[in-house]
């Protein structure tokens, strides 16, 4: 009886090992697929903008500079998103109705512009834009300081560290911001269901890619250092 049991256990053990290994592999594959494929999107819910907006039309076709809409406030801080007053500077009237056989994109653009003019500009309602990047409360961030510090070198220096020109600093802006300038529609704002922050909100390591860059700690020749990585530089 003992022998039989041994024999049975040995066969079963080999199959068990196979089952176990197979199951292990299956589990790992499922986890990898879930972790890389499904989980990242599972954590976010989409938030819609009040109207459809095309950066491509405004920035590329109409050649409107970034700072026309994304300007700084009187204290140097960044206003970030334009108010309806800014839009009203160009969009006062409802545009003419497109032809019935006009492309879908044209009809959608008309619908969006009509909503902007009638609901917001003429209706006196403020546009509540969904921000792609809003810093946490415990972070102090000033665009004014970065304009002065980063722009003073990276728009003029030679070589790979040049990130644009004073007239077109977009490459430098895109060190932190997602590139929207060529988008013909809204980039979806994805809100983390646990934290409430947008998916494109910068993480601290991204800030440190410049702040902790060793070259930034040296004197620039005019008695200034280009960045400071002390805690209190960013945190209150």
């Amino acid at each position: 009886m003992e022998e039989t049991k041994h024999c049975t256990n040995g066969r079963a053990g080999r199959f068990g090992l196979l089952y176990g290994a197979g199951a292990f592999l299956l589990g790992a594959v499922v986890a990898l697929a879930f972790g890389w494929g499904i989980f990242p999107d599972l954590m976010f819910s989409a938030r819609t903008q009040p109207i459809a907006f095309s950066h491509a039309v405004h920035a590329d076709q109409q050649e409107i500079g970034c700072f026309t809409c994304h300007n700084s406030l009187a204290d140097g801080s960044f206003s970030g998103l334009p108010t309806v007053e800014t839009c009203a500077g160009c969009h006062q009237d409802v545009p003419p109705e497109p032809a019935a056989d006009a492309p879908k994109a044209k009809r959608e653009q008309h619908a969006s512009l009509t909503a902007l003019v009638t609901t917001y500009i003429q209706g006196g309602k403020e546009l509540v834009w969904q921000a792609h990047q809003r810093q946490p409360d415990n972070v102090f961030f000033s665009h004014a300081a970065h304009f002065n510090a980063c722009f003073s070198c990276h728009l003029t220096m030679k070589g790979g560290l040049n990130m644009g020109t004073p007239d077109d600093p977009r490459r430098l802006c895109m060190r932190c911001h997602p590139s929207l300038a060529e988008l013909n529609s809204n980039m979806p704002v994805q809100e983390n269901i646990l934290t409430g922050y947008s998916r494109t909100t910068m993480k601290m390591w991204q800030c440190e890619s410049c702040h902790a860059f060793p070259g930034h700690f040296s004197d620039d020749g005019a008695g200034r250092t280009a960045a400071n990585n002390a805690c209190y530089t960013c945190h209150k």
């Binding site: 176990g20 292990f24 890389w36 204290d75």
Partner: protein
């Protein structure tokens, strides 16, 4: 071969282990951990910033003595940040105290509701109706036996207080001691019906004696703007457009950037001014004043040797200073107290004479005689009249008089700010009923029988008229940038309400009515004032009838004892005022060399410390008569010889945990004396001794 329970369990375990292992190389656990950490920062009960559309409104600080013109940023209608107002004559920058003003609105020391002292000796909340009824009854009982103290030097609230006092039949209305009072009394003795103004904007050589013009004296935000404009960055502009020199016993913020700093012993600004006057006369300068001959004779006693012996400034340095003044196109000499009070009128009278000898009275870049603003409320007394009541003289001398039945204190903290606070407290204890109109529960409010919460500067409509130190007559209005954070009511509105109850008729029902009348009195457009645009008065007063009063100056200018150890008091705006205490916003600006734990620092230079046997970092006792204060010795070469420097602003026993029991109140070492010749209380000369504690 079957798939039994055991194999199922093995497969399940394998699947689980595989899933766990696989998951470890995906973002899942790490992102989840990160998100949970962030999520834990945003729980609903943790306060969070509230955004909103940004807007900017003008304001002028009523909390900061500099009357700094500001711009306040609102987010969603809530004030969030104090910024400079560079378009305003009183603006240019933000002082350390003004920067902290918004946070002070939420101070833990805020008086949130009227408080009445109960039978248990403690303050208890009461309704406004009960508080005003109690005050009404006490004022009715007291009749004319009432006194008032105001801590607002520039506002029309003093018109309401003085008119109310007049209607009660008393003239006992006191302003807290200030530079403005010393200057006003100096003008009285010089025969000038004017307020002294300083055209810093157009001067190319400013010599500040004692007056800490870049930190605490006068219109500091404006002074700093002018200093900054005159000194462009070395790589960006030409050489400095104006020289700022400072003479004083401590290398304070003005001295730190001055070129040069002239160390002199505390309270010897008068000697230096007379020494300069003597040199100017010796070089042929004269004045048309009828007592100029006597003045010239008197100043002959203040040659370089005498100034060196008394003030500790080498004679050749004095001569260099005079050379510089004479070489300048528009020199300006400013004399003031090293801590903005208690220096008396004589030093300012001497400064007037020096400026007159330099030929800069009413000249571009010189000392200007500004017309004084009148009153708009019937029965009110003007500021010059109020300055003639000398508060320290009253509290010190009043110990032998009948104290008032009721004392009303508006936005002032005399129990902390006056010299010899213990003696002041003794006097206050004899007053049966004390009322404090206060925003924060300071020492005076804490000892009062009734405390009435008033809005802070950012929460109320108020005005600023000719702040001392400005270069031209100026009248500004400031409107609330936020509703009161507590159940507060403005002092003038309460007094006007009580006045109506008591049958007084001032022709105005609210403070707003008075502000409108005042605007018209100042020939200003109320709408422009409300938009933050001040009205300037370009008129100047003639000095034709001026006298120099050498009799007063001779009595006051007693030479100092070179061997005595003197106390130099100094102050800085980051430590707040006696009514605000140390703003929590500014605690991060305090270095351990200033306040270590609860020990304040006493500054001495190495020569003085060596003479006294004091070593750096040791606890020492600073004694003046029977008074004693302990501090930690700090060797600092920015202190004049034979001088111990203590910073004011420490040693609160009330307010909040950010101010309470931090160091000691240096005013405890100081006693007011009558200035010979003027009778004004002075407390800028205190001999002390130090020893290891």
């Amino acid at each position: 071969m079957g798939f039994d329970r055991r194999q199922f369990l093995k497969a399940a375990a394998g699947f689980g282990a595989g899933a766990a292992a696989g998951a470890l190389v995906t973002p899942l656990p790490w992102t989840l951990l990160d998100d949970i950490a962030i999520w834990s920062q945003n729980w609903s009960w943790i306060p969070s910033l509230k955004g909103g559309p940004s807007s900017f409104v003008p304001a002028v600080s009523k909390t900061c003595p500099s009357s700094a013109a500001l711009t306040v940023r609102l987010a969603g209608g809530r004030p969030v940040r104090v910024l400079p107002n560079r378009d305003h004559p009183l603006g240019g920058g933000v002082t350390a105290l003004a920067a902290a003003e918004l946070q002070l609105l939420n101070s833990p020391a805020r008086v949130a509701t009227p408080l009445k002292r109960g039978k248990d000796g403690r303050l208890h909340p009461v309704e406004w109706s009960e508080a005003t009824r109690l005050l009404f009854e006490r004022l009715e009982e007291a009749g004319e036996n009432v006194a008032f103290i105001s801590g607002d030097e520039n506002g029309s609230v003093n018109e309401v207080i003085s008119a109310f006092a007049s209607a009660l039949g008393t003239d006992r209305v006191f302003l807290m001691p200030s530079e403005g009072q010393c200057a006003s009394r100096a003008c009285d003795f010089l025969g000038l019906k004017a307020q002294l103004g300083y055209d810093l904007e157009n001067s190319d050589f400013v010599l500040a004696i004692g007056a800490n013009i870049l930190e605490t004296w006068g219109t500091v935000a404006r002074n700093r703007r002018i200093f900054g404009a005159s000194r462009p960055h070395p790589q960006e502009g030409p050489a400095p457009g104006a020289v700022f020199a400072y003479a004083g016993p401590v290398q304070n913020n003005s001295a730190a950037v001055a070129a040069p700093w002239l160390p002199i012993r505390p309270g010897t600004g008068l000697l230096l001014a007379l020494g300069i006057a003597h040199q100017l006369i010796a070089r042929g300068r004269s004045l048309p004043a009828r007592d100029f001959g006597l003045f010239a004779q008197m100043t002959a006693d203040f040659g370089p040797e005498a100034v060196s012996a008394g003030a500790g400034l080498p004679g050749e340095t004095l001569l260099q200073v005079v050379d510089s003044l004479l070489a300048a196109r528009s020199p300006l000499v400013i004399v003031g107290g090293e801590f903005n009070q208690g220096a008396g009128a004589a030093p300012i009278m001497a400064a007037y004479a020096v400026n007159a000898l330099l030929g800069n009275i009413n000249a571009r870049g010189g000392l200007r005689l500004l017309p004084e603003a009148g009153t708009a409320l019937p029965g009110a007394r003007d500021r010059r009249t109020l300055y003639r009541n000398d508060l320290p003289s009253w509290t010190a001398g009043g110990q032998n008089e009948d104290p008032p039945q009721v004392l009303v204190v508006h936005e002032a903290n005399p129990l902390f700010a006056l010299p010899d606070p213990a003696a002041t407290a003794d006097f206050f204890r004899k007053i049966p009923f004390k009322v404090a109109f206060a925003s924060l529960l300071d020492e005076t409010a804490a000892q009062s029988d009734l405390v009435l919460p008033i809005p802070m500067g950012m929460e109320r409509a108020d005005d600023i008229c000719n702040p001392y130190g400005c270069g031209a007559g100026i009248y500004c209005l400031t409107l609330p940038v936020a509703p009161p954070h507590v159940d507060a009511r403005a002092t003038p509105d309460i007094l006007l309400f009580l006045a109506r109850q008591m049958g007084m008729d001032f022709g105005m029902e609210t403070y707003g009515d008075l502000l409108r009348a005042k605007a018209l009195r100042m020939r200003a457009n109320p709408d422009l004032l409300a938009a933050g645009i001040p009205v300037l008065d370009p008129e100047l007063v003639s000095p034709a009838e001026c006298v120099l009063r050498p009799d007063i100056l001779a009595k006051t200018a007693a030479l100092a004892n070179q061997e005595a150890l003197s106390l130099a008091l100094w102050s800085k705006l980051s430590l707040g005022t006696p009514t605000t205490g140390i703003p929590p916003f500014n605690t991060k600006t305090l270095r351990s060399a200033e306040l270590a734990g609860e020990d304040m620092s006493a500054l001495l230079n190495s020569a003085t410390a060596g003479k006294c046997g004091i070593r750096d970092g040791r606890a020492i006792a600073v004694r003046s008569g029977k008074k004693r204060l302990t501090a930690r010795a700090r060797i600092f070469e920015g202190v004049a010889d034979n001088t111990v420097a203590l910073c004011l602003g420490y040693g609160h026993t009330a307010l909040d945990g950010f101010s309470r029991n931090k160091g000691g109140n240096a005013m405890e070492l100081v006693q007011a004396k009558a200035e010979p010749g003027t009778g004004l209380a002075v407390w800028d000369r205190t001999d002390v001794n130090v020893s290891n504690a």
